[in-house]
């Protein structure tokens, strides 16, 4: 019974998501596509950052890899840019696989670095990606980017260009509607896989590595391999997300996969609550939809100035509100959106905490193997020079 209550919102959400295309116009459908593509990427990142504790700002790199892999695989071999002309379904899978493989290749580096060092080192990947995207013109179309063939499975097309007609309950199902269901399917699958992984042997090992590498190793977890696994999984998610974004855009260019995308992904998972699949989903929808909704509706407010008049105009207000919303969530919601939701559910147990990371008790020592004896790196070998020059 409690199981039903727990799953209730999820099932309800799913039913709503299934029914929405019958009601929404193209604006909302397109917003939904971007949101669902981001959901997939955010789940991958929360598995890496939230569960395995490896900060990455390189998610845009893997998304770009997936997007271009998809475009290249389905691309017309005779077209302007190189292409293989393979079926889109193959391309979608390949987008995940190629990103995963590259993520695996990067893992010797990611295994060496920790925390913010890893996060900022992965920024380098984004700039590297940009350099490659601009310079490998034959594959990427350079700065202009390349078009993305629409998705289709034999006998059914997901684009407006296809002639076959389909309507549900009187609503004509065009390209966006069809893509909606494709994206929804992939997003739900991603969430399901993510939950399974997090709850299973691998997820427990990753969380243990995050909390203490020493303890995890002592339990027989191969720490280097666990970290690599996390990177591979998250890269695969990013690759698929990239392919979905490519489909949602219809055309990809280097500018779409800049550092801003990486940062957006990070905002999504932190706002949602680190390590939570539902939180990542909520965060992705928040980050993608809020600016669009604000931009769409702020222009109807009466007190605003016309653009160009120098006063506060609607567009500026929308952006200010978006920034303020991020700040507000972090100031007032412990554990992000997921933390807030879980508190609402457990309101009766007053001491329920969010998903925030509490320090060790009673003494906060990062080294569990012995605080009363010196850890290995202590005396006389400080590598840091004094802070005076």
């Amino acid at each position: 019974m409690s199981d039903l209550i727990r799953r209730g919102p999820m099932v309800l959400g799913l039913l709503v998501a299934l029914a929405l295309p019958l009601l929404l116009d193209d604006f909302w459908l397109q917003t939904g596509l971007f949101a669902m593509a981001s959901v997939v990427g955010a789940i991958g990142l929360t598995l890496l950052v939230g569960v395995a504790g490896q900060l990455s700002l390189g998610h845009a790199f893997f998304a770009a890899l997936g997007a271009y892999t998809y475009a290249w695989t389905v691309g017309d071999p005779a077209g302007q840019e190189a292409g293989l002309g393979l079926p889109p379904l193959v391309a979608l899978v390949l987008a995940g696989v190629v990103s995963a493989v590259v993520g695996g290749l990067f893992s010797p580096i990611s295994g060496r670095l920790r925390g913010i060092y890893l996060g900022l080192a992965t920024i380098g990947l984004v700039f590297l990606a940009r350099h490659l995207m601009v310079n490998l013109e034959a594959l990427t179309g350079g700065f202009n980017g390349r078009t993305v063939e629409p998705f289709s499975v034999p006998g059914f097309s997901f684009s407006n260009a296809a002639p076959d007609y389909l309507a549900v309950a009187g609503v004509q199902f065009e390209g966006l509607h069809r893509l909606w269901y494709l994206f929804l399917g992939i997003a739900v699958l991603s969430a399901w896989l993510g939950r399974n992984l997090r709850a299973g042997r691998t997820g427990r090992a990753l969380a243990n590595v995050r909390d203490s590498e020493v303890a995890a190793a002592a339990m027989g977890v191969n720490v280097a391999r666990a970290k690599a696994t996390a990177f591979v999984i998250s890269s695969a998610y990013a690759g698929i997300a990239g392919a979905l974004m490519a489909l949602a855009y219809g055309r990809i260019a280097p500018d779409l996969f800049g550092i801003q995308l990486s940062i957006d992904f990070l905002v999504m998972i932190v706002l949602g609550g680190l390590g939570s699949i539902a939180g990542a989903t909520a965060g992705a929808v928040f980050v993608v939809a809020l600016p669009l909704v604000l931009a769409q509706y702020s222009s109807q407010l009466p007190f605003l100035a016309a653009p160009g008049s120098g006063g506060l105009d609607a567009a500026t207000l929308a952006r200010l509100l978006y920034g303020a919303a991020i700040i507000a969530v972090l100031l007032f919601l412990r554990g992000g959106l997921a933390g807030a939701a879980s508190r609402i559910r457990h309101r009766r147990s007053a001491h329920q905490r969010g998903t925030g990371g509490p320090p060790l008790v009673p003494t906060p020592s990062p080294d569990p193997s012995g605080a009363t004896e010196p850890p290995p790196s202590q005396p006389a070998v400080s590598t840091r020079s004094e802070e005076k020059s």
């Binding site: 799953r7 116009d25 779409l256």
Partner: protein
């Protein structure tokens, strides 16, 4: 576990119900939306008494200020048109949306606008217009105001206000050789933004340089590079006898200033987005006055031509304190172009998005009273409507900072071929 099964069953049930409501027969396969009561066929964004055109622009991102000028001018233009009776007996409404230079927002907002507008007056920005152009083409929707990048010539629904950056740059090389005494074998620096704008300019310059026997020294930069010392030094070392700058005002100020400080006294050539009159008050001002040449498709703010006068008068009445720049004649020219296409569609009795595109592509001889260099021919989508450009010099006493010199078309500008 049992519960999971039940959930699955429930979902499956819903799917079946949904499928039962499915139909694959198109009820209005032959009809085409609502026709007006008049003999003119009306499409998206058209009612009996109003036409809606869209502007998808950047009001909160890096180009917000210039975009706002264009919005103000465009609105003023249509207010005037409406006062004079409108287009096709309908009032023109402008739906302005802000994408903040974010392609994702641009695509989404495009989706919301496309079903409700007859045409898109503007989609501002390189990455944003690149994302929207293919979608608009698929929807057969007219699109203007995306700048002058050559790769827009791939789209038959896109109307370019003048020629391309590449032709401007090719003409600039011709001008350097023919008018400014640059000799065969000399080197010309091209400092350019990565992207559709800069790379298009570079392509034109490289083409012309090969034709005219010059050598190009390319220097790639990004909008966040505002210190051009290293580039200037490199150009000085290479011995460049002129520089083409396909970038923005900050880069122009820096480059011109550093070149002058290093006693490199060579012509600096820019496109419309390169220049901003405020630069003339900066430390780089004297250098600009001496060496800056603007090669643009639309006339500078100060032009005496009647079209430009009208644009400026309208703007100064609407925004007396607004910034003066190339955006004013540009926005006016774009509005004229679209209005002309809409009128053409009206006359053809097909006031639909497709009709507007068709009418635009039938335009073979349009003169905008000096807003653009020559009369315009849009019948061949793969070619720009003209290859002649305005050449202006920086001038401190002129409103908008640029004084019109002449119109120019050189052999390379004429011969430049688009890939």
């Amino acid at each position: 576990m049992r519960n999971g099964t039940r959930t699955t069953l429930a979902i499956a049930g819903c799917c079946i119900v949904a499928l039962a409501a499915c139909s694959t027969k198109d009820p209005n396969a032959s009809g085409n939306g609502s026709g007006g009561q008049s003999d003119v066929k009306a499409g998206a964004g058209v009612t009996d008494d109003a036409i809606t055109v869209g502007m998808l622009t950047d009001l909160s991102g890096p180009f917000a200020a210039g975009a706002a000028v264009q919005v103000a001018e465009t609105k003023a233009y249509y207010a005037q048109v409406n006062k004079d009776g409108g287009v096709c007996d309908r009032q023109v409404k402008v739906d302005v949306q802000d994408h903040g230079y974010d392609p994702q927002k641009a695509v989404t907002l495009y989706r919301s606008m496309a079903p409700n507008v007859l045409a898109l007056q503007q989609v501002l920005g390189g990455p944003t217009s690149a994302a929207v152009l293919p979608l608009a083409q698929a929807d057969h929707l007219y699109l203007g105001g995306f700048g002058w990048a050559g790769n827009s010539l791939k789209y038959d629904n896109a109307q370019i206000p003048g020629t391309t950056y590449s032709v401007e740059a090719a003409n600039a090389i011709d001008y350097l050789v023919d008018e400014l005494g640059v000799k065969k074998g000399d080197k010309v620096g091209v400092v350019y933004f990565t992207g559709d704008y800069g790379n298009d300019s570079l392509a034109g310059a490289e083409y012309a340089a090969e034709k005219r026997g010059l050598k190009i020294v390319p220097q790639e930069i990004t909008p966040k590079d505002t210190d051009m010392s290293a580039q200037a030094s490199a150009l000085k070392k290479a011995g460049a006898s002129a520089v083409i700058l396909a970038a923005a005002p900050p880069q122009l100020a820096s480059l011109a200033g550093v070149l002058a400080s290093q006693k490199v006294n060579v012509p600096v050539i820019g496109h419309a987005p390169t220049f901003n009159p405020a630069l003339l008050d900066s430390p780089a001002g004297p250098a600009l006055l001496k060496n800056y040449y603007a090669f643009t498709s639309t006339a500078p703010y100060s032009s005496d031509e009647p079209g430009v006068k009208k644009a400026v008068d309208l703007y100064e009445a609407a925004a007396p304190k607004g910034a003066k720049g190339f955006e004013v004649p540009l926005a006016y020219a774009q509005a004229e172009l679209l209005t002309d296409a809409m009128k053409g569609a009206c006359e053809a009795g097909n006031l639909t998005p497709e009709g507007v595109v068709e009418a635009m592509r039938k335009t073979s001889d349009l003169d905008l009273d000096g807003l653009l260099t020559t009369s315009l021919d849009y019948t061949d989508p793969s070619q720009p409507p003209t290859r002649t450009v305005f050449v202006s010099r920086a001038d401190a006493d002129t409103p908008g900072g640029l004084k019109l010199g002449e119109t120019f078309e050189g052999p390379s500008g004429k011969g430049y071929t688009f890939k």
